[in-house]
């Protein structure tokens, strides 16, 4: 590998991560706004910038929309007093927020977000690393994210965080199984007999171009996967780890300021990657319509790049909205209900789904 290659890849990586962080901060804003609209409130509408905010109409509109709020929130996280309680295990206490953010940022590496055609007419996929085992890599690295929560709970050395940590570890294991099994039909369909075998996310998207999207003919897989994504990202109705009504705020009760901010950003980064994966696996990735690709619309070259990335981001935002919509609609499950849903409903359902689709795919692909 040439040095320039490494440099280019690093720049790409930095760009992608900064875009992701930007999305995270605006996801926080979106969450606050959507929750307030659902509850008949106004939401953040005061923060303003000196010059942009004083443009007539536009500035006022942006201020009312809270567009400048993420900057204020970020600064607040930076400058608040960072309290490390006396009774904590210092090393793990500091390590835990980092451990919860790093896996979320690492998984972005294998997430493809579009393609464009270069001057020679070749299709270039926009992805940092097109791994052959991308989906497994994604599951593996995102499963490491639970250590952030568990260690935070343990290192805080107090009751509520501890309970939160224990809950998180049990829940994570329970839902990973069903999640893994629910995506198997997608990859069984992808790997037609005689091919070399691939678990790449780019191939999943390409296979859905000009065909039915997977969610349409694998609704049960889609459903199970979405439920598990909610559980894996610790979102309501599955946020047992932090459930603020019972455990104050669970694993991050003892955290303040920047460390709490890392947890916060980590949660939204997890959500963003999760939404992207749902869009890629089940909702056709960057293809605009079922049975239609951008090429069918006669779009080529760099325009295809813009449109495909736009489609991908649109689907991602749509699913993020769904995340938030669900959060402000459903109450939290009880812990035993979470366990029962995971082990007694989703796991058997996913296995049955796998068996059914094994036969379906066998009969569809039988020569």
């Amino acid at each position: 590998m040439e040095l320039t290659d490494i440099a280019i890849k690093s720049i790409y990586a930095i760009v992608v991560v900064s875009v992701l962080m930007g999305f995270c901060s605006y996801a926080v804003l979106a969450e606050r706004k959507i929750s307030s609209w659902i509850q008949g409130r106004v939401g953040p509408n005061r923060t303003t910038l000196p010059f942009i905010g004083s443009i007539p109409y536009v500035g006022r509109f942006l201020t009312r929309l809270g567009v400048f709020q993420p900057a204020a929130d970020g600064l607040k996280f930076l400058f608040k007093e960072d309290i490390t309680p006396d009774h904590v295990n210092k090393v793990y206490f500091i390590l835990a927020p980092i451990l919860s953010l790093v896996p979320a940022l690492t998984t972005v590496v294998v997430v493809p977000f579009g393609y464009f055609e270069n001057s020679a007419g070749e299709v270039v996929n926009l992805v940092l690393a097109d791994l052959n085992v991308a989906i497994l890599f994604l599951f593996a690295v995102s499963s490491l994210g639970v250590y952030g929560v568990v260690l935070a709970g343990w290192a805080s050395n107090s009751k509520y965080p501890f309970l939160g940590g224990i809950r998180a570890s049990a829940q994570m294991i329970s839902y990973e199984l069903a999640m893994g099994i629910s995506v198997l039909p997608v990859f069984m369909w992808l790997n037609a007999p005689g091919t070399d075998g691939t678990l790449s996310l780019v191939d999943v998207v390409n296979a859905q171009g000009g065909a039915l999207w997977n969610a349409m003919w694998m609704p049960v897989s889609f459903l199970i996967f979405v439920v598990c994504i909610f559980a894996e990202t610790n979102r309501l109705p599955f946020d047992m780890a932090e459930s603020e009504t019972e455990l104050v705020s669970g694993f991050h009760t003892e955290y303040s300021s920047f460390k709490f901010g890392l947890f916060f950003v980590g949660e939204y980064a997890h959500m963003l990657v999760g939404s992207a994966v749902v869009a890629i696996l089940f909702l056709g990735g960057w293809h605009p319509l079922p049975f239609m690709t951008w090429a069918d619309f006669g779009v080529h070259g760099w325009l295809a790049g813009v449109l495909s990335v736009g489609t991908m981001i649109g689907k991602l935002c749509g699913f993020m909205f769904f995340f938030m919509w669900i959060r402000w609609t459903l109450p939290r499950f009880r812990y035993d209900q979470v366990m029962r849903i995971g082990w007694q409903m989703l796991l058997p359902l996913s296995i049955a789904n796998l068996i059914v689709y094994t036969f379906v795919i066998y009969f569809l692909e039988r020569p």
Partner: protein, 167 residues
């Protein structure tokens, strides 16, 4: 370059493995165990067996050690209670050490190692198709036996943890 990385990761893995054995605090040991698994995964990556590397992280680092941590936290092991040497400890460690020596001797004395020449053969687990094919043909019996063992273990756990009716 690859050699350098091999020594780097091998040292890292071994160091973390020693960390697992010598830490008094069980949570520290579990964290070292995760890093050992990560080191082993990177060794697999150097062998271009990406599938194995990822599975190593997914299953061991991602699930098994979480369970370890879960148990450690629930049992709340005190540090002083863990450090007690009984005759049984000596016997167990002697047997373990003997098994380790046996394993090393068995590997070094077999022909497999010498068969590896200058050109590295493609690892069986490198491509997904090879992996699946080998698993369902050559290693069919071991896989079934492993599955059966796991089933027995699972039933055993269910029986043990189920409350018996006393009447």
């Amino acid at each position: 370059m690859t050699d350098l990385f091999f020594y780097l990761f091998a040292t890292f893995t071994l160091g973390c493995a020693f960390g697992v054995v010598f830490s008094r605090n069980p949570v520290n040991a579990a964290m070292f165990l995760i890093m050992t698994f990560l080191g082993m995964a990177s060794l697999f990556v150097l062998l271009e067996a990406y599938f194995l590397a990822v599975i190593q992280i997914l299953v061991y680092a991602g699930a098994v050690v979480v369970l370890f941590l879960f148990i450690i936290m629930l049992l709340d092991v005190k540090e002083e209670n863990t450090h007690r040497v009984t005759p049984l400890t000596w016997v167990a460690s002697l047997i373990g050490f003997a098994l380790l020596i046996l394993g090393v001797v068995a590997i070094t004395s077999s022909d497999n190692i010498k068969a590896v020449g200058d050109t590295l053969p493609e690892a069986a687990g490198a491509s997904l198709k090879n992996f699946g094919y080998e698993l369902f043909t050559t290693y069919q019996l071991p896989m079934q036996v492993t599955g059966f063992l796991l089933l027995i273990a699972m039933i055993g756990v269910i029986v043990l943890s189920k409350r018996m009716k006393t009447d």
